[in-house]
Amino acid sequence: MTRLAARGAALVSLAVIALAFLGPFLWVLLASLQPDANLAAQPTFQFSLKNFSAVLTWETIYHPIINSILISGSTAILTVIVAGLAAYPLSRYTLRFKRHFMLTLLFTTGLPVTAIMVPVYSMFFRFNLYGSIPAMVLFLAASSLPFSIWMMKNFMDGVPVSLEESAWVDGAGWVQSLLRIVGPLMAPGVAVVAIFVFVGQWGNFFAPFVLLDTPEKQPAAVTIYTFFSQYGQVAYGELAAFSIIYTTPAVVLYVAVNKYLAGSFSFAGSVKG
C-alpha cells in the first residue's frame, strides 16, 4: 500500500516537473503557428505557416544562418584537426609532463571565457582584427581546444596500439599512422567532438556580439537578439518561427550524439585521462 502510494507520488511529481519545464516552450510552439500571435501563449484554432514564410527571406534567416554555419563549422573543423594532432602524442607516447599538461587542460576548461572577452576585444582592436571572422574563428577554436583535446585523447586511448605497431615496423611515421589507422578507427569520436564544438558555437552569443562589427557578419544568435530587443514593434509570431528554425539544427545534432555524450557524465565524479 505505502509502496504503491510512494510510486504514485513519484510519478505525480515527475509529471508536475515535466509540465513546468514544458511551460516556457508553449509560447514558441503556439505563436510560431498563429497568424497574429502576441506575447502570451493563447490557444486559438487558427493555424498557418505565414510566420515561417515571412521570416524565410535572405536578410532575416538565410544570411544569418549561413553565417552561423560558416562560423560554427569552421571552428569545429579547425578544432578537430588541431585537437586530433595534439591528442596523438598525449595518447601514444610516455611524456614526463603529460599528467601536468592534462591537468592544466582540465583547469582551463573551468575558466570563465566571458571574462576574457574584454581583453580579447582590446587585443583584436589593437591588432586590427576587430570584425574579422577568421580571427574570431581562431579564438573560438582556441577556447574549445582544452575540452576537445581531452575528449580526443580519451577516444584515441580506445584504439589499441597493437594495430599501429605493425605499421611502425613497416616504417610508417606518426602522420601515416594517425591518418590511416587511428583516424578511421576513431571516426565516431571525431564526429562527437566536432558536433559538440559546433553546437556550442551555434548558441554562442557573446563572442560574435562583441567581436564582429557589422550586422552582415553576425550569426543567427545575434540576429535573433536584435530581432527581439526592438521592444514594442516585434512581430512575435515571426520571432517564434525564427527561434524554431534556429534551434532545430542544435536539437537534431544533440540527438545524434546523445548516446556518446551520456557516458561522459560520470565525468564529474572521476575523470579518466
Partner: protein, 309 residues
C-alpha cells in the same frame, strides 16, 4: 595510462655520438603534433589573460586621449572597483544568482529528478529526460525569448493570472527571480545527467538491505545514497558554479541587467563599463577579478575529482 603508452621501437645505436640529435628528434616527435594547439592556445587564451593583466593597470579607453596613448595608473582601477557601489552591487547579485540558480536550484532539482526517476519505466524516463534536456539544448538567446514571453507584461503567466488579479510586469518587479528561474530551467539537465550517472553506481542491494532493516526512504537517502555520491555532488557544484558565474547571454537578453541595475551581475557590469562607456582598462580589471574567482573554483574542482592519467 600505462597500458596504451608504447613507444615505437627504437634502434639501438651508439649512445654518445647521436645523443643530441636523437634527443632533438624525440622532442620533435611530440612537439610537432602538439605545436599548432600550443600556438593557438598561447596566442588566443594565454595572450588575452596576460594582456588583461597589463591593461588592468592602465587607463586604456576606446575613445578620447587615453585611446591613443594609455598610461600606467597602478592599482587605480582596483581601488576604484572596490569603492564602486555598482560593482559591489554586481558582486552581490552574482552571488545571489549563483546560489539561487546553481547551488540551490539546478543542483537540488537535478538531484530530485534523478532520484525520482530511479526504478521508473523507460517510457517515463525518456519523456522527462527529453523535456528537461530540451531546455538545456536550446541556445541561450532562444531560452531568453521563451522566458521573456512567459514573464512579460502581456505574457503567458499574466494571462493565466489575470483571473486572480495578480498580473504585473514580472521582469520589472522581480528581475532576479526571473533570471534565476530561467537559469534553473536551462541548466538543470546538466545536474540531472551527472546525478543519474552517479546514482547508477549506488549498489541496489545496499538500499534494499537497509529497507529490510526498517530504514525509512529519507534515512536511506541521507545515510547511504548521499554519502556514496558526495564526490559527484561536490564536483557538480563546482562545475555549475563556474558555468553560472560566467553567464551573460541569458541575463543580457532577458532583462539587460535592469531595471536600473537590479539584475546587473558582474559580467553584465563589466560589459557595460567596457563596451558602453569604453573603459577598457577598468573592464579588464574586473575581468581579472572574475578570472581569479573562476581559477579558484577550478582548482578546488581539480582537487575533488580523481584524475588518472
Amino acid at each position: 595510462m600505462t597500458v596504451t603508452s608504447v613507444t615505437p621501437p627504437r634502434l639501438a645505436g651508439s649512445p654518445d655520438k647521436g645523443e643530441p640529435r636523437r634527443r632533438a628528434r624525440r622532442t620533435l616527435r611530440w612537439l610537432l603534433p602538439l605545436g599548432p594547439a600550443l600556438i593557438m592556445f598561447v596566442i588566443f587564451m594565454v595572450g588575452p589573460i596576460l594582456w588583461s593583466v597589463y591593461i588592468a593597470f592602465t587607463n586604456e579607453t576606446l575613445t578620447g586621449a587615453a585611446s591613443v596613448n594609455s598610461q600606467f595608473v597602478g592599482v587605480a582601477n582596483f581601488v576604484k572597483m572596490f569603492s564602486d557601489e555598482d560593482f559591489r552591487n554586481s558582486l552581490l547579485l552574482t552571488f545571489v544568482f549563483v546560489i539561487g540558480s546553481a547551488v540551490i536550484g539546478q543542483n537540488t532539482l537535478g538531484l530530485i529528478i534523478a532520484l525520482l526517476q530511479r526504478g521508473r519505466g523507460r517510457a517515463v524516463r525518456s519523456v522527462v529526460n527529453g523535456i528537461v534536456i530540451a531546455a538545456w539544448v536550446v541556445p541561450e538567446v532562444v531560452a531568453a525569448a521563451c522566458w521573456y514571453s512567459f514573464l512579460a507584461e502581456e505574457g503567458t503567466l499574466n494571462e493565466a493570472l489575470a483571473a486572480l488579479g495578480l498580473s504585473q510586469d514580472w521582469l520589472y518587479s522581480a528581475p532576479m527571480i526571473a533570471i534565476i528561474l530561467a537559469n534553473v530551467w536551462r541548466g538543470t539537465a546538466f545536474s540531472m545527467l551527472v546525478y543519474s550517472a552517479a546514482l547508477s553506481d549506488v549498489p541496489g542491494e545496499l538500499l534494499e538491505a537497509a529497507a529490510v532493516d526498517g530504514a525509512s526512504t529519507w534515512r536511506r537517502l541521507v545515510h547511504i545514497t548521499l554519502p556514496l555520491i558526495r564526490r559527484s555532488i561536490l564536483s557538480n557544484l563546482m562545475l555549475i558554479t563556474l558555468q553560472t558565474l560566467a553567464s551573460f547571454g541569458l541575463i543580457y537578453a532577458l532583462t539587460g541587467g535592469g531595471p536600473g541595475t537590479d539584475s546587473q551581475t558582474t559580467p553584465l557590469y563589466m560589459y557595460e563599463q567596457a563596451f558602453r562607456y569604453f573603459e577598457i582598462g577598468y573592464g579588464s580589471a574586473m575581468a581579472l577579478v572574475m578570472l581569479v574567482i573562476g581559477a579558484a573554483f577550478s582548482l578546488v574542482y581539480l582537487r575533488l575529482i580523481k584524475v588518472d592519467t
